[in-house]
């Protein structure tokens, strides 16, 4: 039996496969169908094909990443009350929605909101979704403070991550071309981390966070291989350029 999966990287595709099939890595073989197009502007997904060792003990979930997820059965009391909380909040906002369990991973509980008003539930730059997620976490924290709740709708979070990483690569190319540093929009720690990791292995640029508080800005700085400066102050670096 074979099945195909995708991911931003080979590792991610493998992780996705392992997660969907609830299998350990050693229980299947991986064949890379499409290694993904390299380049800064567009990173297409890596496609892999999974060959399962043993067909019998495996029941693949009927779940596809891009489709609405089938609600997981027999949720426990904790999950049920968190789901009810999110559903009630949305309904009291005046919108109708179904809230389902998208995944359970370690201490994380992923919830998926299915609604015809997704646009409003997500909000500008996902701010309504983030607010819902924060409240859900505060609420869940009273019941079990080891669990983290991820609230998503229409796969917004994964799309947003991909978009951020693409934007980071694009900006890095500009910084390399102009040799001038660039300051990105204010972002939360999770988003900044994505940028730092994405540009970690890009030569000639480095990243630094600036500002105070939760929402800091990332600056992408040109670091020419010939004239490497160890000066950490951003302003004097700008003067040099």
């Amino acid at each position: 039996m074979t099945r195909d999966f995708e991911g931003k990287t080979e590792q991610e595709a493998i992780d996705n496969a392992a997660k969907e099939l609830s299998l350990d890595r050693e229980n299947f073989d991986v064949e890379i169908v499409d290694p993904g197009k390299k380049g800064f502007f567009k990173k297409s997904n890596v496609k892999i094909r999974i060959h399962l060792h043993n067909d019998k003990n495996i029941e693949p979930k009927k779940v596809q990443r891009s489709e609405p997820v089938v609600p997981a059965k027999n949720e426990n009391d904790f999950e049920k009350s968190v789901i009810d909380f999110v559903k009630n909040v949305i309904e009291k906002m005046g919108y109708s929605a179904e809230v389902q369990i998208a995944y359970r991973k370690d201490n994380k509980l992923g919830l998926n909101i299915v609604s015809s008003n997704s646009a409003i539930i997500i909000g500008k730059k996902g701010k309504n979704l983030d607010a819902l997620q924060l409240l859900a976490n505060v609420y869940a924290g009273q019941l079990d403070n080891t669990k983290k709740i991820i609230v998503d709708a229409e796969n917004y979070r994964i799309r947003h991550e991909e978009q951020l990483v693409r934007m980071a690569y694009r900006t890095a190319v500009q910084v390399k071309k102009t040799r001038k540093s660039k300051l990105l929009e204010p972002m939360n720690p999770f988003e900044r981390r994505l940028i730092h990791t994405a540009l970690n292995d890009v030569v000639d640029v480095e990243t630094k966070s600036e500002g105070e508080g939760l929402y800091k800005q990332v600056r992408i700085i040109y670091k020419g291989s010939s004239q490497r400066s160890s000066d950490s102050s951003v302003s004097s670096r700008d003067d040099l350029l």
Binding site: K92, Y95, G123, K127, N128, A131, L134, V138, Q142
Partner: protein, 77 residues
């Protein structure tokens, strides 16, 4: 309705739900919602650096876009 929304969220977050009360002052263009909670629960509805209060206000304005009226949340102590 906005009042129920704020009341529901506040009651879900505090230790003493019976002390939660929301009063509504209707204006022409905006509705002011005044939230009162037990003294010990104020931190629970405001949160560190006002994170929870901010989230509640975000949710509230998302809800208010439906009616086309602005809703303002005030937390009273």
């Amino acid at each position: 309705m906005e009042k129920d929304l704020v009341e529901y969220i506040a009651k879900s977050l505090v230790d003493d739900p019976d002390s939660v009360s929301v009063s509504m002052v209707e204006g022409e263009k905006s509705t002011i919602l005044e939230l009162r909670v037990a003294q010990d629960d104020i931190g629970k509805v405001i949160g560190k650096h006002g994170r929870i209060a901010k989230a509640v206000r975000t949710i509230l304005s998302a809800s208010a876009t439906k009616s086309g009226k602005r809703a303002v949340l005030e937390i009273l102590d």
